[in-house]
Symmetry: D3
Subunit: 237 residues, 6 copies
């Protein structure tokens, strides 16, 4: 029995609020239960130096947790003077995942930055960030098309992500914090709407995991991501 009473495959209630703030070209508040992440997409002309003159665009991401989004307060990274390893790892994952949504050639020499700021954390912040940022990205793309900044729609397909894991020996989907903190294995999966993988990251927290466990984790992730993509599409409809 899970703390929330959910079944093993059941994800938390997911809410997607578009236009949550008014300045960003795409602004989405995504909630997976008590995990709340504000995903803002910014469109800027130009690309990083290493891409100049290649006729393609770029997608980058930044991730941060508000100091008191967590049970106890974490030090603000701006005050520490550097971003931690976990932050860097996550923002690289978000950016890679969202780049996979787009035909970067069709984006032209423009950059879209996805700022994922966790307002409240209860497990699964990186996968919520990817899932919300994808919707913000679509809004930003629509903005660009409406302004005539791009001719062709660069969106290839939607992506969504879920955190799955083995808790008390059982594979479960969409771990909340209390489950995450005692999971034996933790796996983040990013998939496209066509059901293909963008990223799969499984980590043994305590004991190593078997081939069969890996298989069943992937299986429930596929199932949950399909649900998430439906929710994204409803939000965008």
């Amino acid at each position: 029995m899970r703390p929330s009473g959910r079944t093993a495959q059941q994800i938390r209630p997911v809410t997607i609020t578009r236009n949550f703030t008014k300045h960003a070209e795409g602004s989405v508040l995504i909630e997976f239960g008590d995990t709340k992440v504000l995903c803002n997409a910014t469109v800027e002309t130009g690309v990083p130096r290493f891409l100049k003159g290649q006729g393609q665009g770029w997608v980058t991401a930044e991730y941060s947790m508000l100091p008191r989004s967590t049970h106890t307060r974490s030090q603000r990274e701006a005050a520490r003077g550097k971003q931690g390893g976990r932050t860097m790892e996550i923002q690289r994952l978000i950016a890679r995942s969202l780049r996979a949504c787009l035909d970067l050639k069709a984006l032209g020499e423009n950059t879209i930055t996805l700022d994922c700021d966790v307002l409240q954390a209860d497990g699964g912040t990186r996968t919520a960030s990817i899932t919300g940022a994808c919707v913000a990205l679509v809004d930003a793309i629509n903005y660009m098309r409406s302004k005539g900044l791009i001719k062709v729609n660069p969106l290839k397909e939607m992506v969504a992500a879920i955190s799955v894991g083995i808790v008390n020996g059982e594979p479960v989907s969409d771990l909340e914090y209390i489950e995450d903190s005692k999971a034996e294995t933790d796996m983040n999966v990013v998939m496209t709407e066509a059901g293909k993988f963008i990223e799969i990251q499984g980590t043994a927290e305590g004991e190593a995991f078997s081939y069969d466990e890996m298989q069943s984790l992937v299986e429930i992730a596929r199932h949950s991501i399909k649900e998430l993509i439906d929710i994204q599409k409803s939000a965008l409809a």
Copy 2:
């Protein structure tokens, strides 16, 4: 005629939402029109080194704008590796203002940190931060009393703050961004509910301002702060 149709002394609609997030001991979303700041108060045992063993508490503050809280995206300070001068100036002001609310001896050797994170900016973020942080501080104090962490109520009185300025030659209250960006003089005032000053900061943006202009700015600030303190009290009722 002001862009919003407000009279010179009229402040924007102010909304105070308590318990906006679930982990912080005090969590307030304050909105002054389109300016939205999340003010989280964290209670921690102990005091900074310079106060150790003196039997008193401390209040500190951190301020940050989400990168896309503004019209164009600003670089994330955590990514730049340092907080800018404006950020430091503002968080020092917030902390000084809130320390003035409390009898630090009655707080015991505890520290309250006020994190003011601007979700959306439209002028007056520092004064909204002070006004919202004061409510979060009261909630944190109430939490401490309910847990028996302090015996005596350390709250001396409420404080609130307003930004006033001279726009097109006329003194007006609660400037929104479009006014702020062309104000000739800008003044931030922090006052107590008893109508005394905690802080007054007037700055000539273009031309120097006269004694009479200074007087009329102070006058409308007093008036607006009285209103704000009523709103704070209703929110806490």
Copy 3:
């Protein structure tokens, strides 16, 4: 009775030594009693990036205290790897104040940097910095005119600054350290020679201050700044 035997409105002996060092285009040692600040003005061609091509100049400032300018040694900011919040706040104030002296259009695309380095501190270092930097700025302007770098004199009017405060319940001018450390209210005022305000910053250190106290602080500041401007003019004569 003040520690120095001065009357409430009496400022300390002020000495202005021009050409204190030989390389800078303006170099002023200003002394307010035992507070000694070296103010060097540097003229450089060009402006910061955000002003390029706008046909106007810029004035910026940096402030620092020598590690042992104070009673006990402070850590050197270069060794800590960053400037503190107080330093940033002060150098932003100095720069804003001095920009108010000049018609930046008349300055052309040139930048003047004011380096204010405190050799010895005894209260009022930021206001001494502004007062001394204004004289160094005039010398730098004169240098530019003598070299034909600018045609029109960009100087609008002189500015000077004073620290006033309430000590033992009485408003006094030009606080020295021993007074400053126990002041109930502290106010820094920057004014032009025409008697208008550039900046006014009043802070309650302990108790909040009343409207009447604010008024009397402003009054003695006006009086002292008039004196300072006479001293500046004599030094420049």
Copy 4:
């Protein structure tokens, strides 16, 4: 046909040189073809602050590439003043993988640091680091046992890691740089000698990858890791 003439499943010649340097408690030079990583294990008394008093040890790792280990010179991270995101991601992966080898309780309050410095890079540096660091860790453990620093052998089982990927549509093992740079999918797998997973990280570089592709990558990884563990054991024999 692979550039090196290898079959799809064939790994490069792997050489493990123990005691490569003389000061470290474990010092291994591992070579996967032209990829050469020096893995030094350091034993130190005590644990990081968050573990103090819990009666368990810790394993941590640092990773760095010599500036000219690559085709073109990369800037030295010490000179840039910070470690990049890729470095942080890799050193976190190495540490997690090696912690999985040990019973941290049996290690006592001691810390083992694994420094993996890439002398020459030709693809697969992170997986070579893990495979080499495991041997250095065993030597460090043996040192501790010979000095009586620990009573019980904390080693649970060996781990090794391999990089696999899809190149020209075919799953291949142990990618060298020229293959890695054009791989469609890249997967790093860390496994125990019992054939269980410690970590699996698959990333679509261009197109998303299918379930079947994922399966075949895992399959060849298992095969290669078994070979690597045999090589580790021979080296330790």
Copy 5:
């Protein structure tokens, strides 16, 4: 013929002003012609961690040039966020040289910090710093003895330093900036009053220098340092 009309061995007029500022335990302004360095000595209880409990004291130094001590303005190191290599090299040299003056055991567990801040630079700032810091150190030692902080005088002997070099093929003493910038060889020598060496650093700027040139540089350095020690002693008399 030297630019100043000096003979090859002739040093510039040297002035030593003690008690230049009032807070430091030793405060010396030293001038070698137009080179002016403020050397402040601070006495603090305790020693750095690596010396704790060894019953000996420590001497450390920091060096900085005011941004406009030079012909053109240099960026402030505190603003850059780090001290440059030249600064570090110089402050290490100053500290080593001054430690050689003292019996560190006799100093007890106290630390003396020598802050050498260059107010105006015209060549030879590091050797002027050492020569001035030695006088400030003696004043600090005298302060400690007068306060009873130490029983025995830890001063072994005075040290002084000079910059010598080969300019236009001729060895000369105490190079001013215009000579230094075209010197073929530059040598800094630190000696004790007994005529022994603490440090000798000779650098070929253009062509390598011969054994005979090295000898003649050392010879004139010995001569000049003897003069400097007489000047130090007169200042202290």
Copy 6:
């Protein structure tokens, strides 16, 4: 009797391995007994900004010790976020020494960077770095000539360096760590093959050293450097 049984003037066995890694234009592993330094030379088009358009090249150097190249582990400078003073001092010395080898005009607007990474330390790492880097520099120059990047050979002459010192009252050459740690005086000498000085740095570690001691140290350094230059030439033959 020296710990190694060597005579006073005898240097350790020196081994020079060229092409130690495959990417760098010059790659040398130099060993002085147990001191092992990898010296990689990188050729890049262009020069630092301060040299642009002057038709000359540049040589720069970076130095680092692997964390566990020493008896106990040192913190990695990339993790600390800055290079220490010793590192900066050494890399400046290496660069100055190697610039002395070349006619920078003949190098054209190209930059050669010498990365000296200490794999194992046993005294004399900076002088081993210079001696090894000179060989790597020659290989890089040969590479440039073979590729037609330069017409004329910019190499003026070889340089080599040795560490000498006074240990137990006797001047000895090529100190290993155990001698270095108890040396009374330590001197690093860099010379050209023509027997002239590039750099001489003598430091009293405990007692000041006499003129005669200085002379005898220089004498044995000259002798050892002659040997080293023969070894360099054999390696290059």
